[in-house]
C-alpha cells in the first residue's frame, strides 16, 4: 500500500471516531491523537523522502501509484509527492496539530466543530498528495464546503455575510477551474487526467492561453490574487481562530500550489505570454495589501491584508519562472503559513482576554500578558522579514531569483514588490506599538491572565518552526530547489 494513503486515512478515522465520541474529553483525545499521528506521519514521510533522494532516486515524483476509479473518463486516483508537496503536508500537519490546541475551549457544539475541522483537513491533505486533475479538484471542493459552516456557525461579527461571501467567491473560482481542467483533459485527447502524463502532451497554444487564464484565476482567487482577494479580510475576520489558522495557513497555499502544478506546470508556453499581465496584478497586490493594512484597526483585518500582500508575493515569485524565485515561493508559502497561523492564534487568544480586536481600544498589554506579547512581536518581526526568522530567507530568495530576469519590466516590478518591506514594517510596528506598548487603555484588561499550557504549546511549536527555518534555511531550500530542477531549469 502506498504510504501516502495514510494522510487521508487518518482524517477519515478521526471523523469516524469523532462521530462516536460522547463528551468533550473524548473529542479532544481523538483530535490530539489523530493530529499527532498526522505530524508523525509527515515527519516519517519527510525523512523517507530525503533518504530516497539521497540514495539517488531521480524521478519527478516519489511514492507514486495509480488507482482507476471511473474508466470511461479516465478518472483515477493517482498519488505522488515531490519536495513541494512533502513540505506542504508537513506544514498542514503542524497547523492542524496546533489548531487543535488553540480550539481547546471551543463552544458550543465542540464535537460538530471538530468534525467539520477534520473534513476540512481531509480535503487539504488529499489535495497535496494527489497528482490527478479530477481528484485534485474534488479535494479542493471538500476543503471549501466545511468553511461555510465553520464560519457561519462558530464565527463572530458578520459571520453569515462573510461565510456566504467566502464560499460564493471560492465556488465561483472553482467553476472557472473545472472548465479549465476539463478543457485541458479534452484538448490533450482525453487519455489521462494524471498530471505526470499530461505534462508530456502538448496543448495547442490558443487553447493554452484560455485554460491558463481559467486555471490561474481559479486557483489565484484562493491565493488572494488581486483583485479577487476581498473574501479574505471578511472571511478571516469572521472565522473562528483555528479555522483562520488553517485557512490562511494552508488553504490559501492550495491556490499557489495549484497555480504552480497545473497552470504553469502544464502550460509553459501560455505562461510565457500571459505572465506579464499577472505579474502586474500580483505586484500591485503585494504593495496594495500592505498599504491597505496600514489603515486597519482590527487586528484580524490587519493580518488578513498582510496575508493578501504575502500571498501575492508567492504568486509573483511563481510567475518569475526562475528556479530560485520558485524555491523562494515555496519557502514563502511555508513561512507565511506558520507566521499567519501564529498571528491568528495569538489574535484569538488576545481576543478571549480583552473581548476586542480593535487596536484603538487596547494598549500596554505587554505588561499584562508578556508571553503573548513577546510572541506577537516575534510574529510581527517574522512578518516584516527580520533575518533569523523564516520570512527573511523566503523573501530574499524570491527577490534575488526575480532579479535573475534581465528585462527592465520584471526588474521594475521586482523593485515595486521589494519596497513592500518598508510598508510592512510600518503596519507591523504601528499595530504592535498601539496595542502592546504605550499606556494601558482599559483598566479591565489588567486582570487578563497570560497564556495557559495548551496555548503556550501551540505558540511555541509555531515559533520554533519559524525560527528554525529562519536560522537554518539551507537544508529546506536545497531540498525544494533540487526537486524543482526537473520542472524548471
Amino acid at each position: 500500500m502506498n504510504f501516502l494513503i495514510v494522510f487521508i486515512l487518518i482524517p477519515l478515522l478521526m471523523l469516524f471516531a469523532l462521530f462516536a465520541t460522547r463528551n468533550r474529553k473524548q473529542v479532544l483525545a481523538v483530535m490530539v491523537t489523530g493530529s499527532s499521528a498526522l505530524v508523525l506521519a509527515s515527519i516519517y514521510l519527510t525523512v523517507r523522502y530525503i533518504l530516497l533522494r539521497n540514495s539517488g532516486v531521480a524521478e519527478t515524483m516519489l511514492f507514486t501509484s495509480s488507482y482507476t476509479w471511473f474508466e470511461p473518463l479516465n478518472i483515477g486516483f493517482s498519488l505522488g509527492v515531490d519536495a513541494v508537496s512533502v513540505t506542504m503536508l508537513a506544514l498542514s500537519a503542524i497547523i492542524v496539530f496546533t489548531g487543535t490546541f488553540v480550539s481547546w475551549k471551543i463552544k458550543p457544539l465542540t464535537k460538530e466543530f471538530f468534525i467539520w475541522f477534520c473534513l476540512l483537513s481531509l480535503g487539504v491533505f488529499g489535495f497535496f498528495i494527489t497528482t490527478d486533475l479530477f481528484t485534485l479538484f474534488m479535494f479542493y471542493e471538500i476543503a471549501l464546503i466545511p468553511m461555510y459552516l465553520l464560519i457561519g456557525i462558530w464565527g463572530s461579527g458578520r459571520r453569515e455575510y462573510s461565510a456566504m461571501k467566502l464560499t460564493l467567491m471560492l465556488m465561483g473560482a472553482a467553476s472557472l477551474l473545472i472548465v479549465g481542467i476539463l478543457g485541458i483533459y479534452f484538448s490533450t485527447g482525453a487519455v489521462s487526467m494524471n498530471l505526470l502524463d499530461l505534462k508530456e502532451i502538448d496543448i495547442p497554444l490558443n487553447l493554452q492561453l484560455l485554460f491558463f487564464t481559467l486555471t490561474f484565476v481559479g486557483f489565484g482567487v484562493l491565493g488572494a490574487l488581486f483583485p479577487f482577494h476581498t473574501w479574505s479580510p471578511d472571511g478571516h475576520a469572521a472565522a473562528p481562530t483555528a479555522v483562520s489558522m488553517l485557512h490562511a495557513g494552508v488553504l490559501m497555499k492550495l491556490g499557489g500550489y495549484g497555480c504552480f502544478r497545473v497552470s504553469i506546470g502544464l502550460m509553459p508556453e501560455a505562461t510565457e505570454i500571459l505572465a506579464p499581465v499577472f505579474i502586474v496584478l500580483t505586484a500591485i497586490g503585494v504593495i496594495y495589501g500592505a498599504l491597505s493594512a496600514i489603515h486597519q484597526t482590527d487586528l484580524k483585518y490587519i493580518n488578513a491584508y498582510s496575508s493578501v500582500s504575502h500571498c501575492n508575493l508567492v504568486l509573483f515569485a511563481i510567475l518569475m519562472l526562475t528556479r530560485t524565485a520558485m524555491t523562494g515561493a515555496v519557502l514563502q508559502m511555508i513561512s507565511h503559513g506558520l507566521m499567519t497561523a501564529l498571528f491568528f492564534a495569538l489574535i484569538g487568544m488576545i481576543y478571549e482576554r480583552t473581548h476586542t480586536r480593535m487596536i484603538t481600544e487596547m494598549g500596554g498589554l505587554m505588561k499584562v500578558i508578556p508571553f503573548l506579547g513577546v510572541s506577537f512581536v516575534i510574529a510581527g518581526l517574522a512578518s516584516l522579514g527580520l533575518p533569523g526568522l523564516s520570512g527573511f530567507a523566503a523573501e530574499m530568495t524570491i527577490f534575488v531569483g526575480a532579479f535573475e530576469n534581465a528585462d527592465l519590466f520584471r526588474r521594475v516590478l521586482t523593485i515595486v514588490a521589494v519596497s513592500s518591506i518598508v510598508v510592512t514594517a510600518v503596519y507591523i510596528l504601528r499595530m504592535v506599538g498601539k496595542f502592546l506598548f504605550g499606556p494601558m487603555q482599559n483598566r479591565k484588561h489588567l486582570a487578563s491572565i497570560d497564556a495557559v499550557w495548551y496555548e503556550k504549546l501551540a505558540v511555541v511549536i509555531l515559533i520554533a518552526g519559524i525560527a528554525y527555518i529562519g536560522m537554518f534555511p539551507l537544508g529546506l531550500s536545497n531540498l525544494i530547489s533540487d526537486s524543482l530542477a526537473v520542472i524548471i531549469k
Binding site: T230, M396, A406
Partner: protein, 638 residues
C-alpha cells in the same frame, strides 16, 4: 584563528540564555552574567587584534583572512549567501572598538539601570546588539552585512523602545526603525543590482583581482549612469540611513528616548558608524570605479556636518546636543572617505589620507563620544533631568564626571594632544587637499563643534549654582570607572600610530601632522571655546549681537530646520491620509463593491424570474402550449 567564532557565539548564547530565563534570573545574576560574557568577548577581541597584527603582514602589507566561512543559503546557481568571519585591519579595529565600548556600557549599566523593571531584558538586548554588530563588521560578504545590518536595526528598535509604556519611546523606536528600513530598501536594491553583475556577494571575490568582475556592470547603463554607479549610490543611501546623514538623520535625535548607556553604545559609538564602515569596506569599488559617487558622499557628509553642528548650538536637551554632535562627527568621517583620491598613502602620494583619517576618527570618536554620553547619563541620574536649565554648577558635586567630561570636550573640540585633535586634523588636512573650499568648510564646522561642546560643558558644570532641592551625588563606582577608563583612552589615543595598522591599501604609514592646518585648527577651536567661555561660564548673559531667541534663525535651528515636520507631513498627511485611507476605502467600496454588486444583480435577476415558478397550473399549461407551438413552427419553417 578559529577562536574568533566565539566572539559571535558567546553574545548570541548570552542573548538567548538571559532572554529565555528572563524573570527567573535575578537582576544581579543577569547583569553579572551578561557582563562576564562581554568581558570574555573583549579579551578574545584583544587577542584577535594582537594575533592579527603580529602575524598577518606579508611583504609589508596587511592581509585579509577568513578563518571561518559557511554557506547559509543558496540563491541561484552561483549565488550563495555565506556567514563567516573576515579579518582585516578595519574589521579587527572595529572588534576592539565595539567590544571595548560595549564592555564599558555593560559595567556602567550595572549602576545606571539598577532597580529598573526589565533589567534582564535590557541585558539580553545588549547581548543581541553586540552579537549583531560583531556579525556586521566581520561579514565576509555584502549579504551577511545586510543580514546583520537588519539585526542591529532591530536591536536598536528594541532598546530605544526599552521604556515601552512611554509613548515617546514607542514613537521614537518606530521612527528609527522605519527611517532606517526605508534606507535599507535602497541598500537591498543596490545589492541586487551589484550581485546580478558580479554573480557573487563575496567581498574578496568582488574587489580582489583586477576588477574585471565589475567591468560588466560598468558597461551597462541606465538613465545615463552605469549600473555600477547606480548600485554604489543605492548602497550609500543605505549607509546614509544608518549613519544618520542628511536628510535621513531625523531618527537619531529621537532615538535618545532610549536609556542613556544605549545611546552611548548604539547611537554614538558603534551602530551609527556602520554606514561609514560600509563605505570603507567597499572603498576599492568607490575609488576605482565610481569616483563620482564618492564625491557625492563627500558633499553629503560636509553638508550634514555643518548642518547638524548649527542645530547642536541651540538645543537645550543635553542628549540632543550630543546626538546632533554625533551626526556632525559622522559627517566628518564621511567627508574624509569622500575626499580620498586614491588607495595609496605614502609620503609622496597622499590620496588615501582621508580613508586612514576616517577610520582613525571613527576609533577616537567612539571613545570620546561614548564617554560624553556616559558622562551625560551620570549627570542625568544626579539631577533627574535632561534639560540644561535644570543644571549648572555641578562640577563640585560630580567631580569625576566633571573631569572626564572635560577631557572628552577638549578632545572633540580638537585640543592637542588629545585623540580627537589628531584624527580630526588628519580629516581637515585631507579636506584641504581635496579643495580649499572643502577645507575651510570643515574648519568652520570644527569651530562650531568647539563652541557647542563648551556651551554644553559650561551650562552643565559652571554657570549659576545648582538650585535643585536634592543635593546631587556622584555616581557609584560601576559608573565612574568606565568613565575614567574611557577618559584615559581619549587622553592617549592620539599617540597610537594608527597609520601603521589601518590604511586603504594595507601598507603602513607614519602620521605626520601638517603644521599649517594644525595651527589653524587649534586657533579656530580656541576661538570657539573662548566664545563659549565668555557667554556661558558665568550666569548666562546674552550678547546683543547674538540672534535673539525669537529670531527666525534661532527658532529654525531649534526646531531642527523643520525637517521632522516635513517628514511628518509626507508620512501622516500624504501617505496615511491620502494614500492608505483612500486605498482602504477603495478596497471596501469599489473592489469589494463590485463583488457585492455581482451578488446583488444575481439576487435581483432571480427575483425577477422567480415568478415563472408560480405553482399555478393554468399558467404552466399556457406556457407548455406556447412552447409546443413555437417548436412546431420552428420545425415547419426549417
Amino acid at each position: 584563528m578559529e577562536y574568533t567564532l566565539l566572539i559571535l557565539l558567546l553574545p548570541m548564547l548570552s542573548f538567548v540564555g538571559i532572554g529565555l530565563l528572563g524573570r527567573k534570573l535575578s537582576h544581579r545574576a543577569a547583569g553579572i552574567s551578561g557582563t562576564l560574557v562581554l568581558t570574555a568577548v573583549t579579551l578574545l577581541s584583544y587577542l584577535t587584534a594582537f594575533d592579527y597584527f603580529t602575524t598577518q603582514k606579508v611583504n609589508g602589507v596587511w592581509q585579509a583572512i577568513q578563518p571561518y566561512n559557511t554557506t547559509w543559503l543558496n540563491v541561484g546557481e552561483r549565488l550563495h549567501i555565506d556567514l563567516g568571519i573576515l579579518l582585516d585591519p578595519i574589521s579587527v579595529m572595529m572588534l576592539v572598538v565595539i567590544s571595548t565600548v560595549s564592555l564599558m556600557v555593560h559595567i556602567y549599566s550595572l549602576g545606571y539601570m539598577k532597580g529598573e523593571k526589565g533589567f534582564q531584558r535590557y541585558y539580553s538586548f545588549l547581548s543581541l546588539f553586540t552579537f549583531s554588530m560583531m556579525g556586521l563588521v566581520l561579514a565576509t560578504n555584502i549579504f551577511q552585512m545586510y543580514i546583520f545590518w537588519e539585526l542591529v536595526g532591530v536591536s536598536s528598535y528594541l532598546l530605544i523602545g526599552f521604556y515601552y509604556t512611554k509613548p515617546e519611546a514607542v514613537a521614537a523606536s518606530k521612527k528609527a526603525f522605519i527611517v532606517t528600513r526605508f534606507a535599507d530598501l535602497f541598500f537591498l536594491i543596490g545589492i541586487l543590482v551589484l550581485s546580478y553583475f558580479t554573480q557573487t556577494f563575496d567581498f574578496e571575490a568582488i574587489m580582489g583581482g583586477d576588477g574585471s568582475i565589475l567591468s560588466s556592470a560598468l558597461g551597462t547603463t541606465f538613465l545615463g549612469a552605469s549600473a555600477l554607479t547606480w548600485a554604489m549610490a543605492l548602497v550609500f543611501i543605505g549607509a546614509a540611513g544608518k549613519s544618520a546623514m542628511f536628510p535621513l538623520h531625523v531618527w537619531l535625535p529621537d532615538a535618545m528616548e532610549g536609556p542613556t548607556p544605549v545611546s552611548a553604545l548604539i547611537h554614538a559609538a558603534t551602530m551609527v558608524v556602520a554606514g561609514v564602515f560600509l563605505v570603507a569596506r567597499l572603498f576599492p569599488i568607490y575609488i576605482g570605479f565610481t569616483p563620482e559617487v564618492l564625491q557625492g558622499i563627500a558633499y553629503v557628509g560636509a553638508f550634514t556636518a555643518l548642518f547638524a553642528a548649527i542645530i547642536a548650538v541651540v538645543q537645550t536637551d543635553i542628549k540632543r546636543v550630543l546626538a546632533f554632535s554625533t551626526i556632525s562627527q559622522i559627517g566628518f568621517m564621511m567627508v574624509a572617505l569622500g575626499v580620498s583620491t586614491s588607495m595609496k598613502l605614502t609620503p609622496e602620494d597622499h590620496g588615501g589620507l582621508g580613508y586612514m583619517a576616517s577610520m582613525f576618527h571613527l576609533f577616537t570618536h567612539a571613545m570620546f563620544k561614548s564617554l560624553l554620553f556616559l558622562g551625560a547619563g551620570s549627570v542625568i541620574l544626579a539631577v533627574n533631568s535632561n534639560d540644561m536649565k535644570d543644571m549648572g554648577g555641578l562640577r563640585k558635586h560630580l567631580p569625576i564626571t566633571h573631569v572626564t567630561f572635560l577631557v572628552a570636550c577638549l578632545a572633540i573640540a580638537g585640543i592637542p594632544p588629545l585623540s580627537g585633535f589628531v584624527s580630526k586634523d588628519e580629516i581637515v588636512t585631507a579636506a584641504y587637499q581635496f579643495s580649499t573650499g572643502m577645507g575651510i568648510w570643515m574648519t568652520v564646522t570644527a569651530g562650531f563643534t568647539a563652541f557647542y561642546m563648551f556651551r554644553l560643558y559650561f551650562r552643565i558644570f559652571w554657570g549659576k549654582e545648582y538650585r535643585g532641592e536634592v543635593k546631587p551625588k556622584e555616581s557609584p563606582r560601576s559608573m565612574t570607572y568606565p568613565l575614567i577608563f574611557l577618559a584615559l583612552i581619549t587622553l592617549v589615543g592620539g599617540f597610537i600610530p594608527f597609520g601603521q595598522f589601518v590604511t586603504a591599501d594595507g601598507a603602513p604609514y607614519t602620521i605626520r601632522l601638517n603644521s599649517t592646518v594644525a595651527i589653524i585648527s587649534v586657533v579656530v577651536a580656541l576661538v570657539g571655546i573662548g566664545l563659549a567661555t565668555l557667554l556661558y561660564r558665568k550666569e548666562e548673559k546674552r550678547a546683543s549681537w547674538l540672534p535673539s531667541r525669537s529670531s527666525g534663525l534661532y527658532k529654525a535651528a531649534y526646531n531642527r530646520f523643520y525637517i521632522d515636520d516635513a517628514y511628518l507631513f509626507v508620512t501622516k498627511k500624504i501617505i496615511f491620509n491620502n494614500i492608505s485611507r483612500p486605498l482602504a476605502w477603495f478596497d471596501r467600496h469599489v473592489i469589494d463593491g463590485a463583488m457585492n454588486g455581482l451578488a446583488w444583480i444575481t439576487n435581483r435577476a432571480s427575483d425577477a424570474i422567480k415568478g415563472f415558478q408560480s405553482g399555478s397550473l393554468q399558467w404552466y399549461a399556457w406556457v407548455f402550449l406556447l412552447g409546443t407551438l413555437l417548436i412546431t413552427l420552428f420545425a415547419i419553417l426549417l
